[in-house]
Symmetry: C2
Subunit: 144 residues, 2 copies
């Protein structure tokens, strides 16, 4: 199974925010969409980082009083890892496990194709194993 | 693969907090341990809920000014789903996918055995598939 198989079902929609917007604005999107991270763009519309729930929790721990003035750029993770549509899902699982991250933006030909979360990976693995079991049963019991 | 196989490697340690403690105290543990959720106990040491990063993000969105006085009980998720050591990992993956949760406490004989995160599941699936590939290669090329 490849990343493109997940994106085909999930779609290419990526929720994002500008690095200069505030954490309060970021929280609004995260809560409204019930998602765990936002891709962050700079003024030139290049990827500048990812803002995750973990980043916000760390900032709340340090100073929660100024979320309406603190810019996303102060808190976001800038050292991000990018995947490609042709990557195997297991490769993405390895990236997530080894780096303790939950979101990997997918880029092809310099263009953003979507974002894969750890929840997407688990859902896809589950559907894949159910498919494999059905396939094996069909094969064993002559359904095909 | 069963939940007990993950717990055997991961251990039974569960980071927890009392429902009457504050969100500020909870944040301290989450940040210090770099984890995504705490199990919450009531005064009688029964499981009262789970406090996740998502719960904290939602509270920060509503009112981030009082984290040092807001009790964990106000924000925690009380409708929690418990697993058992003999559950298949794929069953836990189904629970996580269908309920959009990332942590499942594991209980046996009324006693807490550990907690399984979505990160643990992905790591275990990855190690399992690597094991299966090695096993198949050994089988195909006469290594056994």
């Amino acid at each position: 199974m490849e990343v493109r198989d997940i994106l085909q079902k999930k779609g290419s929609k990526v929720w994002s925010i500008k690095a200069t917007q505030t954490l309060h604005e970021a929280l609004q999107i995260l809560v409204d969409q019930n998602i765990g991270a936002l891709l962050v763009f700079d003024q030139k519309n290049n990827i500048a980082g990812i803002l995750s729930e973990r980043d916000i929790v760390h900032e709340c721990h340090q100073s929660a009083k100024n979320l309406d003035t603190t810019p996303v750029s102060k808190v976001m993770t800038t050292n991000i890892i990018i995947g490609a549509p042709e990557d195997k899902v297991e490769y993405i699982m390895g990236i997530m496990t080894n780096n303790r991250i939950r979101h990997v933006p997918i880029v092809s030909g310099g263009k953003l194709q979507g974002i894969i979360s750890i929840g997407d990976v688990v859902k896809a693995q589950l559907q894949n194993s159910e498919y494999e079991i059905r396939y094996l049963k069909d094969y064993m019991f002559g359904g095909r």
